[in-house]
Symmetry: C2
């Protein structure tokens, strides 16, 4: 059976719905060939939007800060940019990255492993802006609001997420207006977004128009109703926070189109990739060659909250091979070889495997 | 049956393979919410790459011009940029746009309708650079070569395409190094690419490293073996050239996630979209409301080879509605209501339809 025939005769496990393909055509992954770049080009950084991409005119834009604060504020973009701007490289990853590899597969954006990117974000620390308003002692969280609107699980709502006050005080949490040195593009949250380094992407609210200090934990649909790790439908679940440790590899060799099956030439082949963790420094990457694990050489971290490169010289011999990679961080956390299934298909850092034929 | 259950129980027609989802996760469409922008943000412009994205160092980059020329040239990027640079807005569309709507669906990148984008490309006219080399009279075509390599239909090759000499002499065909005012990003062909305004995207060769003047029509895999309109597998086919007329609409209302089903509020609703043709000026756009066609108001063209906007005020009444749009150009060409099927799923400009529930 040739490859195309085989593809067309695949099992149920390998069939996707029209809705999934529509999600995939709309949301964007970073092709893993681009792992070579320390900083992901703007046009290759992953994006995931639940609803339509809003348009906010930077000339008339306001950020409204209210709730449990001493002085409610309505800030123009220029007011925010007058703060002490800094630029930080941050690796972001969608909490659903890897979802399409789960069995059974949750119905949602069917990410392969491309829901990643590292950008240089320019902005001001959130805590500096909030200090102007003065958060009152009764506040336990800040709620971040955006104008993108739709329904999910039958509830019509705007995209909103919250963070505990202590998290908001971290120096690296910022209100960002530029990405890789240029104003945010619309699909990345123009003109202003939150960036929460170390956390999965759902926390970094795009098109930020409101911040409210609240006395009780926020229970909106994107907080209590989604982005939780549930082992069953009635499991209240555990909130998703920091990015789990992960290594990814640029597939070696060359692809077939449209099957994307890969072939490489025999001989010394440098395998290359990136590794990151939102919880601690990556201290080890191992490369699996047909199930045998070997130590990779680590490069520098691109930033405190950004990935580091790794490489490994593989002596490629003719035949079929399965390549893998896995990272471990300073907290001793590593990646599972088997899926860690949950209802939403979140936070799955099962090791990547690549099949390649060497000739 | 609720929507999710319905999605999960869909017919064969609506099942996609793992290879298709991998293609879809790798290649990028422009969300139709971004039709509002005259010029597509770099990060939202569609990309389609057959093989891996190569990296060419702009410092050491050379464009080699040879074959039937008086003076073969090896040009650095700076040599090319020393020419008479101009910036032109061009709408590009993948020849496979709309493929996922075909029945039966060809196995290839399963585009919805997002394989589009309009950018401002900066470069020099190809004919000016070729005049330095001097094309000999025996030459019938120029062959454009790039270093992206893989297999397709069993043939290992680099991506190469050709154009007839007369086409290459058009003033608007350019060697471009910038997109929307900035150096090309890797996935868009850095550091130099061809731009062939009016043609489907396969002609605008990215990562351009070679131009060869040849005495016979080029028959490489991406020219004779692909990008042809074939009604059956043994049909030699007709070459794909210019972009067929098309109108697209930003879906009104708000989406559900993850089904992307749409709901809008009753009352006056401004429908908005874009229309373009690679063959002639778009002279008419009509909007279909439940099968009745109405004239839309046209905006200015963004450029000679770029789209124009259109709008229509719809009186949305409660219930289920089907919205469509279709354009006609100065040559009298319009869009079919039924699919124009071919083996590769190319050049399909069947009208868009959007279902929306008004409440």
């Amino acid at each position: 059976m040739d490859t195309l025939t085989r593809l067309q005769a695949m099992s149920d496990r390998d069939t996707y719905s029209t809705a999934e393909i529509a999600l995939s055509n709309r949301n964007k992954g970073m092709p893993l060939d681009l792992l070579r770049h320390d900083i992901t080009p703007v046009g290759a950084h992953y994006t995931l939007t639940h609803f339509d991409i809003p348009f906010l005119d930077p000339e008339t834009y306001r950020l409204e800060i209210g709730g449990l604060v001493d002085a409610p504020l309505s800030l123009a973009l220029g007011d925010i940019q007058a703060g002490s701007a800094k630029t930080v490289a941050v690796t972001l990853e969608c909490a659903g990255n890897g979802r399409s590899r789960l069995d059974p597969r949750p119905t949602n954006m069917p990410w392969g492993l491309e829901a990643i990117g590292t950008a240089e974000w320019t902005g001001v620390p959130l805590h500096e802006v909030m200090a102007l308003a003065g958060i009152r002692p009764q506040a336990v969280e800040l709620v971040f609001s955006a104008p993108d609107e739709g329904t999910q699980k039958g509830i019509r709502h705007y995209y909103q997420r919250s963070l505990a006050i202590a998290e908001c005080q971290r120096h690296e949490v910022m209100l960002a207006w530029a990405m890789n040195g240029r104003p945010l593009e619309p699909q990345h949250g123009a003109p202003l977004r939150l960036i929460v380094p170390g956390w999965y992407g759902m926390a970094s609210v795009k098109w930020l128009t409101g911040i409210e200090a609240v006395a009780e934990p926020f229970m909106g649909p994107q907080q209590a109703g989604s982005y939780n790790i549930r082992k069953s439908p009635d499991d209240p679940g555990e909130r998703i926070t920091r990015i789990r440790v992960r290594a990814l590899m640029t597939p070696p060799g060359r692809p077939d189109f449209p099957t994307l099956e890969r072939t490489a030439d025999a001989g010394p082949t440098r395998l290359f990739g990136r590794a990151w963790s939102g919880e601690a420094t990556v201290e080890q990457v191992e490369v699996g060659i047909d199930g045998d694990w070997h130590e990779a050489v680590l490069g520098e971290q691109v930033g405190d909250f950004a990935w580091r490169s790794w490489s490994f010289l593989w002596q490629a011999t003719p035949g079929e091979h399965e390549l893998s990679c896995r990272a471990a961080d300073a907290l001793g956390r590593s990646q599972p070889l088997e899926q860690d299934w949950n209802e939403g298909g979140y936070c799955n850092n099962m090791v990547q495997t690549i099949r390649v034929r060497v000739e």
